[in-house]
Symmetry: C2
DNA sequence: TGTTCTTTTGACCAATCGGTCAAGAACACG
DNA sequence: CGTGTTCTTGACCGATTGGTCAAAAGAACA
């Protein structure tokens, strides 16, 4: 029986390989659209071997979502109430945009889950995520009240940062088609988003 | 043989019912995740009857995407080079947000297609969409050059309008979870987005 | 070396998939 | 009414689905 923290080198390598393959397939096809055969091919492994390491297709998916939730909110957690308000928020935008650049598959996995109605994530959204947003919204509200930030709805500010940064990961194909060759959407986004949020937030 | 423009009342009613059911299912599950049985149940019709009106699952999907492309860009097409720049762009934001409110399923259908890499839409994106964006970008650039608009990258301005307005449709489940009961994300978005784009665009 | 535990896979299973077909039911129109 | 057309569906098909199992192949350690 394979326990939760993989013990041997082979276990560690194979579970990681499966999760990587699962991320690749789930992020493109969604849970229902993905098949174990696709994941097995991507992981260069036979299908029964997949199921030696994970008991089911859903187990792979759930593991990926759990891992995602652990790191996805780090950029927002790092928002420091003691720092300079505008600079803190711009740094948050930069960190989130960096995640779109480094982890586009994770971003699409998340988007797919939400599009399906978040059947396996709703409790996490209503729990940890809401708590974190409530907490950071209070910080932002405090900054606004103190006149160190333009008055702005803190929750919708956070939402707009999500929308803009994640869009550059999830809709990358569309943006490349529209911008044409010779353009790097994510690179150009950095300057544009800094301009946008500077104007919005500077008191 | 059923021709393209449905002739009889029954044909019109049933094709419409199928497309509506297909929209419901495809927008949640994506193309691969959706099944003809689900669509048939949703349309209250037997599966062979579906296939009497559409030759295949893909034909339903393609028809939906074609219809979508015809209306999806209307808000941007309506951007009037002769109007007041800031007001024209704010009106565009309002129209796009209204589409998120009225047609969330169409928005999710589009998002699903892009997340999968736009296999059935890429040519349309590189064609009609790019042409339209190029044209309207020139208008916006002209406004900026004339000093009637803050200097801003026109293409990324359009992209940011897409990102923000579509996010309120596609991620509605998440936003409701985060905002908690008693909040209507799309309603609150209107004021927030107006504030955001007014600040960004006013010279 | 032999023995034990871990890892791998070909063959297989029931359920579901997209799609077909023939035959019946409902309709339109003289 | 009758008759030709349109509409509907139960039964079915081969392929694919998620998942099982037994047996073989590899590692690990004595």
């Amino acid at each position: 029986m394979n326990l939760h923290p993989p013990r041997t080198r082979i276990q560690r390598k194979n579970t990681e390989s499966i999760l990587n393959a699962g991320l690749e397939v789930f992020s493109r096809q969604g849970f229902r659209g993905a098949t174990l055969d696709q994941i097995a091919v991507e992981a260069e492994m036979s299908k029964p071997n997949l199921l030696y390491y994970f008991p089911s297709k859903e187990a792979i998916h759930v593991t990926l979502l759990d891992r995602l939730m652990q790191t996805w909110l780090d950029p927002l957690r790092a928002l420091d109430a003691g720092g300079d308000p505008v600079e803190e928020l711009l740094a948050y935008v930069r960190r989130k945009l960096q995640m779109s650049r480094d982890y586009p598959r994770e971003s699409r996995l998340f988007a797919n889950e939400i599009l399906q109605g978040a059947p396996r994530m709703l409790t996490a959204l209503e729990g940890d995520l809401k708590t974190l947003v409530d907490e950071k919204s209070a910080v932002i509200q405090g900054w606004s009240d103190a006149g160190k930030l333009a008055p702005v709805d803190p929750r919708h500010l956070i939402i707009s940062i999500w929308a803009l940064t994640q869009h550059y990961a999830d809709f990358d194909v569309q943006l490349r088609a529209v911008l044409g060759p010779g353009h790097d959407p994510l690179q150009e986004a950095e300057g544009y988003l800094e301009q946008l949020f500077k104007k919005l937030l500077t008191p």
